[in-house]
Amino acid sequence: MDVAALLLFMAAFVAGLVGAMVGMGGGFFLVPFLALYFGLPMHYAIGTSAIAVIAASSAAASNYVRAGLTNIRLGLLLQTCTAGGAIVGGILATMLPDSILAAVFGVVMLYASYSIFSSSRRNSAKQSSIESSTPAVDNNQWQELEATYYDHALTEKVTYRPTRVGSGMGACSAAGVVAGMLGIGGGPFQVPLMHLLMKMPLRAAAGTSVLNVSVVAVASAFIYYGNGFVAPSFAVPAVMGVFIGALLGTRVAQRVSSRALSIILAVALLYISLQMIFRAFGIQLR
């Protein structure tokens, strides 16, 4: 294995580890890494990253599902919207020039950075009270979506029932288009959406998000694969790295407070987003 492959493996490991801890697939790190460090054209970077995102999110989802943190029923309802959006996004992306894709990616990353930072601030102090007091809704609507999981950090069982499922599905369609276009799973959109709009506890939102991320990535990855925008020479080390990182990440995530991690993640995303925007205008910052 050459040095470049080893470096990509290590970067993918970190992307998988951190991504799994916060309900992402790692695409937000891999696409810029492939595009900025290896100089891959955006379409190849996105297509190759989408393959790795499937490995990371499926590995994470396997652990989250076993731990009962994933709400499979809700996931399926949301996937009916995100998957369709992802196909539209994937097709749109194949028509766009490299610079526009890089610019859109940079702007979306800026938003993701803000979203992760603000959600970490909102939830730092009141995390435990929010999670344990998530109300079981009085009426019978979406009763079958009520779920219970054991929270290792709180050392207690948490029961919740998602609210505003219809609105969540609508918002997921838009998230799917953006995610499909950029070869990411859309974790930074789905987690806040489920947590803030649908009133799910953060851990359950992250657990359900990774399952959705894998389906969104599949929808767009097939489009990219069909257009030949996947480079196996980059995909192999990336997939191996994110797979091991994601398996480890889900195990650590259940026992670690996410505040410091979220802030580091937000700063890293901010830095990379600026690099991507500069790249869109032909300026290299390395």
């Binding site: 499926s58 029923r73 998957a83 389906v215 097939f222 020479s233």
Partner: protein, 128 residues
Amino acid sequence: MKHIDNSSASRSVDRSQEEKFLYKWVSRTLLASLMVSLALMLTGSLLLVLAGRPLPSEVLSFGQIFEGLLGLDPAAILNLGILLLLSTPILSIIISLSTFLRHRDWLYVAASATVLFILSIAILIAAT
């Protein structure tokens, strides 16, 4: 009244069994499919390196993979691994669909079938 209580209790037991089965098998399917696809990707890569060939920079079409597999071409094995990886989340939806079908949970039968239908459009686009 007693009949209604029994029926309700039976539905609750049924639902709990459905949940356990669903969560156990979705988790296992995801991991097993991932393992097999990674093994195929690693085997293909290793055979390519041993043969002194670089890892390919382009993917093969579905037809090329099929032809390559007949001749045990390492690049085709590597590509098969990538395709199986792409199919991993689809397998978990098939498990969900079959579980909901068995328990006649129609709303989620419809949701699973819709997601599968949408993904099959993506596969169709990739194949053409």
